[in-house]
């Protein structure tokens, strides 16, 4: 393991910022640390970089315990949300800065600066000052400065958050390319699930200072371990149901029943479960009735035209509202419709995971 975080706990005053967080990064891996603002992501980054001494827990870099080492003795480079290029140094001097701290020959430094400026396609701006660069160029130079000393781990702390959508996607592609080319072990911290899913090999999803799930983006999206992960990784409809029959699974949603033939439940009949299903997986059934998929009936309460699709809100007799995505012209509000619920796309949570 290149980076191991184990049992990390930290408090600010009486407020717990991070509680017993453990995860690790294999060599060359890019891992997304994802969670809403205030979930403790930045505390973790600061603890790894050494700008904060955690109340408990250990940080290991290439097997060495660095928890009590100052930042300059860890090989962990950080790129912050706001640019931190040195305004009194040129682009080349900024990139060389981290190299000069190490005992490297001048000619080798020049060479490494050149290589890293080529990596970010800015070799021609070597003598420019940061103030002369555009926002996206500054970000790329920061990446080059962070990468040039060949750190054990690259920490990207919300590097895209302050940027426009088009610049953001361009830089996201650049980060992906550079990470593949250099193979640097990278922890990518973000609150944006689209950025995380597009870049990361694996995701560590955080909520309120604790880990809510760790897995590949696809596994977390398709089989979220907790309701929080289900709704944080994309839009999700939650419907409360009661187990009628554990196997084959039959659920009661108010007066209606939902039969999920290939599923079984480890909860007994009568237990409450929360069912999550994504709006894109729901469809409005045609009226021919030859369909055998499980369905729920309700009335269209509201339609939003999103340009590329319609969001159809359907209120069930239980007063819960589910959103169904639809490309074709939707039925008007008030219409009674049947919502097809594909059994394989339904994730169920018992009461024990519902709070997480």
């Amino acid at each position: 393991m290149t980076l191991e975080v184990s049992g990390l706990t930290h408090r600010y005053g009486s407020k717990t910022a991070v509680e017993d967080v453990s995860f690790s990064l294999a060599d060359g891996e890019i891992v997304g640390l994802l969670g809403p603002s205030g979930c403790g992501k930045t505390t973790i980054v600061q603890a790894i970089a050494g700008h904060l001494r955690p109340a408990a827990g250990r940080i290991l870099l290439r097997g060495e315990d660095v928890t009590r080492q100052p930042p300059e003795r860890r090989r962990a480079s950080v790129v912050f949300q706001e640019p931190t290029l040195y305004p009194h140094m040129t682009v080349g001097e900024n990139v060389a800065y981290g190299l000069e701290a190490r005992e490297i020959e001048r000619s080798r430094i020049d060479e490494l600066v050149e290589t890293h400026l080529e990596l970010i396609s800015l070799a021609s701006r070597r003598d420019a000052y940061p103030a002369e660069l555009s926002g996206g160029q500054k970000r790329r130079v920061e990446l080059a400065r962070a990468l040039a000393p060949e750190p054990d781990v690259l920490l990207l702390d919300e590097p895209l958050s302050a940027l426009d959508r088009s610049l953001r996607e361009e830089l996201r592609r650049a980060i992906g390319r550079i990470q593949r080319e250099t193979g640097v072990t990278t922890l990518f911290v973000t609150h944006d699930q689209a950025d995380a899913m597009a870049l990361a090999d694996r995701l560590v999803v955080m909520n309120e200072g604790a880990i809510a799930g760790v897995d590949t983006p696809r596994a977390l999206y398709e089989s979220p371990p907790t309701p929080f992960v289900a709704s944080f990784l994309g839009r999700s409809n939650a419907v409360e149901a009661t187990v009628v029959e554990p196997e084959p699974l039959v659920l009661a949603v108010g007066e209606q029943t939902l039969t999920l033939p290939e599923a079984r439940s480890d909860r007994p009949a009568g237990a409450s479960v929360s069912c999550h299903v994504r709006p894109a997986d729901l469809t409005l059934a045609e009226s021919d009735g030859t369909d055998t998929a499980p369905t729920l009936s309700g009335a269209v309460s509201h339609v939003t035209d999103r340009g590329s699709r319609y969001d159809v809100s359907v209120t069930l007799p239980t007063d819960e509202t589910v959103v169904v995505e639809r490309q074709a012209e939707p039925p008007p509000a008030g219409t009674t419709v049947t919502v097809r619920v594909p059994a394989a796309k339904v994730t169920r949570f018992g009461a024990d995971t519902a709070g997480k």
């Binding site: 930042p71 931190t84 305004p87 800065y97 701290a101």
Partner: protein, 268 residues
Amino acid sequence: MRAFDPRRLRTPTRFVPALLGGVLLVHFVVPFAAFLSQTGTSNVVAGLSAPPARSAIRNSLLTAPVATLFSTLFGVPLAYALARTSVRGKRLIEGVVVLPLVVPPVVGGAMLLTAVGRFTPLGRAALAAGLPLTDSLAGVILAQTFVAGPFVVVTARAGFGAVDERLERASRSLGYGPLATFWNVSLPLARGAIVAGVVLTFARAVGEFGATMMVAYNPRTIPTRIWVEFIAGGIDAIVPLALALLAITVVVVTTVQRLGHLPTVVDG
């Protein structure tokens, strides 16, 4: 009120602050203009060649730079510590730094006398060691540092406070220790404010009068010499020395501002 064209109503409201402020500006500008127009009537070169005047100029040019150097050498690290640490008792230390700014210079001088005067233990020991702390150049330096030192601390502190701490953190993560980071990042980035503070400290030190009068009436600096000549010969007698002091101040202030790329001290 509705009789006015509302579009014309806007213009006067803009001029209200300018008009009021203009009164103060006039009060600042007129004395300068009057003084500079006076200089033609007086033989400046002759006035400055007199031995007492030359000795006063030499004393001022010896003491003020030393006081500024001391203030900077000890004040800039203090400013950095105040900007970056949050130790218990920091408020008290900040109060101590500001006290000499608000204490009247004559009182400051009296205070210094009670600390290092000829009849205090400290003053007696220094005198015995051949370094009198009153009525000496050392006394002048002590007085100037006491009165002028806070300027560089307060200004540099504001400068360090404006340096984004993340730039320092990035430097640490790039392999530099705290001292190297201070030298490579914090100091160059706060340079403008520090230069402004140094300029203010020098200007205050070279013109220091009240505390110097108390601690070291002799040897004379330019300000104390001006006072002696004013008593003896009135306003006309002091024009050469006053002009010399003004010239030293203006030359140093503008030179350091040029070097520091500071348009005016206000921006520091």
